[in-house]
Amino acid sequence: MAQGNQNTVVMELRSISKNYSGVPALTDVSLEVKSGEVHALLGENGAGKSTLMNVASGTVAPSQGELFVHGDRYESLTPALAARLGIAIVHQHPAVMKDLTVLENLQVALPKEIFKGRSADKVGAELLERVGLRISLVQRVEDLTIAQKHLLEIAKALATSPKILVLDEPTAALGQESVALLFGLVEKEIAAGTAVIYITHRLAEVRELAQVVTVLRDGRKMATSRVSEVSDSELLSLIIGRELKSAFPAKHKRDSQAQPNLVVRELSGDGFTNVSIEAYPGQIIGISGVVGNGQSQFLKALAGQSDFTGSVEINGKASSARELNGAAALMPADRQREGVMMRMSVRENSALAALKKFKTAGLLSRGKEVDSVHATLTSLSIKAPSLEAPVSALSGGNQQKVVMARALLSDPVVILADEPTQGVDVGARSELYEILRQASKDGIPVVVASSDAKELEGLCDTVYVFSRGQVVKTLRDEENSEEAMIEAAVTSTAKSIKIEREIREQKLGNETFGDKFRRFLKGDYAPPALLTLVMIALGGYIASTSDTYLGEFNINSVLVLVSALGFVALGQTTVMMTGGIDLSTGPLAGFLVVIASFFINDDSPAVSMILGLVTMIAAAVVVGLFNSSLIRFVKFTAIAATLTTYIAIGGLSFILRPNPDGYISGDVSAFVNQSLGAIPYAFIVLVAATFGMEYLLRRSKWGWRLRAVGSNEESARRVGVPVTRTVLGAYVISSLFVFLGSVMLMVQLGVGDASQGVGYTLTSITAVVLGGTSLMGGRGTYVGTLMGAVLLTQVMNATVFLNLDQTWQYLLQAALVLIAAIVYGVARNRKARLKTA
């Protein structure tokens, strides 16, 4: 039904199917999206909504079917092509980089044209204004709440003025005000003729916002209808009419005499609040709700993995988090990461929590262990090649049985299963249900959280429905049904737990001087400022005891030493920004001097000298490419790759110069050593290079990309950063800076000596660390590195003036590194702790 010219079809998905290794995620789904309309996609978790939208936005290629965008036919899209076609997607998990500022996150992700001709601050402020995000542009994204990150993600999507906007559960993390604002925005987009696809779990939102609704179930399209022509109950029945595929064990018959064996009273913690539940012997307790409404956090707290307030009583005994940790068995939802140790054997995985049982005379008895594990796994009907096979060789269902075996073997006080059947085939599901039922019969309280309401209906006796961290409905015995659960979840109007931070955010728009100062202390430039103070204090102290300390000669010689180290350290900083490390810098510096010693001698003609420099540069580039190729293409860790290069370059140097030889031209040395008063020109170049790099790091696309890769590689890829090219570039730049450093080293050594230069690896890392650059990548400054290099050299020089021996040189160096690392690290850790509090 066409409604005037405005509602033309802008995108059509035709008969889309997608299989993941044979398992269908989507089967023959067709969808038409019209401009000026909100098209809602409804369905349970795992119904295929997100997969369909990943196909539409180019992150997933369909196995079958075709797409039409603006009338053109495509078999599949890529993220870049989708962006060109005007398709923008707001992911369920925001693709933001925590170490970058809000503005930088916008700049790295958005095309240049958006910022053209106007100041970036202005554009950024406008974009935030649009989504009602009242935060400072220079704030680090790490300090944002989840809701704010989502709004930022939405701001990014809207900035490109998309023709087709996909919103994947945008309100899951938003507070009431933000939701209203978002709806306003969507309506504005619609009025402007944008087509909006809106994925949600909540019927109320569909009613309020959408004109058309499509329901998916088990990867198939159930129906498409105009919202005005369908009732809530019709929609509900479309969502939940899933066939019951698994058989469930018989339920528990309630005994009116029984005392509860698990009583949780008013439990509050990170992500959930005021939750009270109780279980009677033989009962299985279900925790229902849309994924991410605090269910997992609640189970983790029950397992003693996080702090809580309130009380937990098991079999009449009150337990603290400390006591629960290890005694309660938690089967986590993220099986791949937290459930099984992929490369360890089935036996080792199963026995992990019960090792103490297998001791004989202090040592583990293999026989006992094998027998016990074998018996349990056999009773669970596991299908595995053998006890010694790696867990990674098992199917999802059998991996889950291993997790189950670990739980059972540990004789737990309570079993907490989070999404126990996710990624488990139908046959194994029924078996898992049987096992849980049996454990419950044996008197162990069992709590199961699942987003599959059908499963909870079949398996559990009492179900608690969670929404936004609170229990919104308790369904006992006969009340327990899928309809009741979904109705409670989708009609819930529970408000998010107001976190103190969110209230604080309101006033962040106009910062006071105190706020700015606090932000500076947490920021990248605090370390260099701190180092400057230390340098002035140390310099002042020594100058008061010695006349020659501030003399031209001493200053000059210190700064010459700084220059060589400084250049190498600038290169190291670049690599560390990406989260890597370059151990080969030291040997490379020495190697380049060795090369120079063949070309740049007293009697060599100018051509030879130029050729020498060109060869040095070429060698540096080759080494940079070699390092980064090993890392990106052969998947070496940065340490393994650059360690290999480290050893190899050392060998090459000795092949070229078995003994020190090849004296460097005196003219060249004199040229490089020229000074302006006490200040060597080389040092001036170093300072200029430092500030140049600093500017690029903060203000250029290259700099944002570099830090984006170090901050979060996956997010960087999603916003379109060419990750491999960025990393390759970083190692080449590192090597080129080593070249500049090697020119200084060449002049200092005056001869080709293969044994020199190696020490620069560790010294350069030390300088970078002093400067506050994080080895985890994503954050740091070049200025800090320069300061680090100066301070390090100054301290070594100071030992001469203070008559301290070599022992002190080492001790001072150690003190500098450790104190710096602890001070910076503790400052950052405290921030992280505040965020989770």
Binding site: E338, M341, L355, L643, I647, I655, P658
Partner: protein, 344 residues
């Protein structure tokens, strides 16, 4: 509910040989065979006899390094630790045999102290292991120079005879290395703490969920490592008549190399002690072999680098995928062209 269908679950072989151990074992056999053919002088009994103690020392240091690497860490304080042990046992007694034992206890005390510093910084303050151990290394060298003033002293006659002795035709250092290996294997495979330690390395998140004390184990790895460096330092002090204060330097890179060659991942995971020890033998013999071929020191380093690169690539490259990609490139080129036809 116990279905009979799965009652056939096999208990698996009693003894399993890891891929890493197999690789390094085969490589070593090939190397010795090659030495026998191409450079017989490198496998003469006398050469082997003098090579073995150094292989043993590298093996002991490698075992220590392995314990930190399997916890996804790395220990850059090897040079300082080894040097400090050397200096303490050669300087404190100053040739007096009766003072040797107290000196050894002092060295062990220092090692535990250094390990606790590293472990605390990394396990509990969450410092990056590279930074923390770099700092500790400087600290240890401060102690080295504080004690020795950089001047070497001759080791005591007792230490010399213990370390250089030969029993049943085998140099004593080998017994120490085998003892260390046995201790590590026994700890890792046969004690509750060791099995937990190994699991934490394999996956800290799983261990945390299971209620294990992840930080404590990660921190203690550095203490165990220091004890091994200490043992190696003491042996080194005895074997070399007049050890210098900087002898530990030459063990930094090889200590990482043998662990990596042995198949333990730098990202953490299962540690392979036997493979690490054999890798130490391999690397030391590789040195001897290249030396016997008459090529210079430089080529030796290049060969080492190549061995390391190949050793890592065996584990990092997804060979099955590479094969299938190659196969596709060779046979299915037409198909590829068809599927990537532009459709717009």
């Amino acid at each position: 509910m116990a279905q009979t269908s799965a009652a056939v679950l096999s208990k698996g072989p009693r003894i399993q040989i890891a891929k890493g151990l197999m690789t390094v074992l085969v490589s070593s056999i090939v190397l010795f065979a090659l030495s026998f053919v191409a450079a017989p002088s490198s496998v003469m009994p006398s050469t082997i006899q003098s090579m073995l103690p150094f292989a043993a020392i590298l093996a002991i240091i490698g075992l220590g390094q392995m314990l930190t690497i399997q916890q996804a860490g790395i220990d850059l304080s090897v040079p300082g630790a080894v040097s400090l042990a050397i200096v303490i046992v050669s300087h404190e007694p100053n040739g007096d045999n009766s003072k040797l034992l107290p000196a050894i206890f002092l060295a062990i005390a220092f090692a535990i102290g250094a390990g606790l510093i590293n472990g605390y910084l990394i396990g509990f303050l969450n410092l990056n292991p590279i930074i923390a151990t770099l700092g500790t290394n400087a600290l240890l060298y401060g102690a080295v120079l504080g004690i020795s003033q950089g001047i070497p002293r001759t080791t005591t006659s007792l230490l010399y005879s213990v370390c250089n002795g030969v029993t049943l035709g085998i140099p004593h250092a080998i017994y120490f290395a085998l003892g260390a290996l046995l201790a590590v294997v026994l700890m890792l495979r046969k004690t509750v703490a060791g099995r937990r330690f190994e699991s934490i390395g394999a996956s800290a998140p799983v261990a945390r969920i299971s209620g294990l004390r992840v930080k404590t184990h990660q921190g203690l790895a550095y203490v165990w490592a220091q004890l091994f460096y200490c043992l190696a330092g003491i042996l080194l002090a005895g074997i070399t008549n007049q050890p210098t204060a900087f002898m530990g330097d030459q063990y930094m890179l090889p200590s990482v190399a043998v662990v990596v060659l042995g198949g333990t991942s730098l990202l953490g995971g299962r540690g392979l002690p036997s493979a690490t020890v054999i890798a130490a033998l391999f690397l030391t013999q590789l040195d001897q072999f290249v030396l016997a071929l008459g090529v210079n020191f430089a080529v030796r380093t290049l060969v080492q680098a190549a061995a390391l690169a190949i050793g890592v690539a065996i584990y990092t490259v997804d060979w099955a995928r590479l094969r299938s990609v190659l196969k596709e490139l060779l046979s299915g080129q037409n198909r590829r062209v068809k599927t990537s036809l532009p459709s717009a």
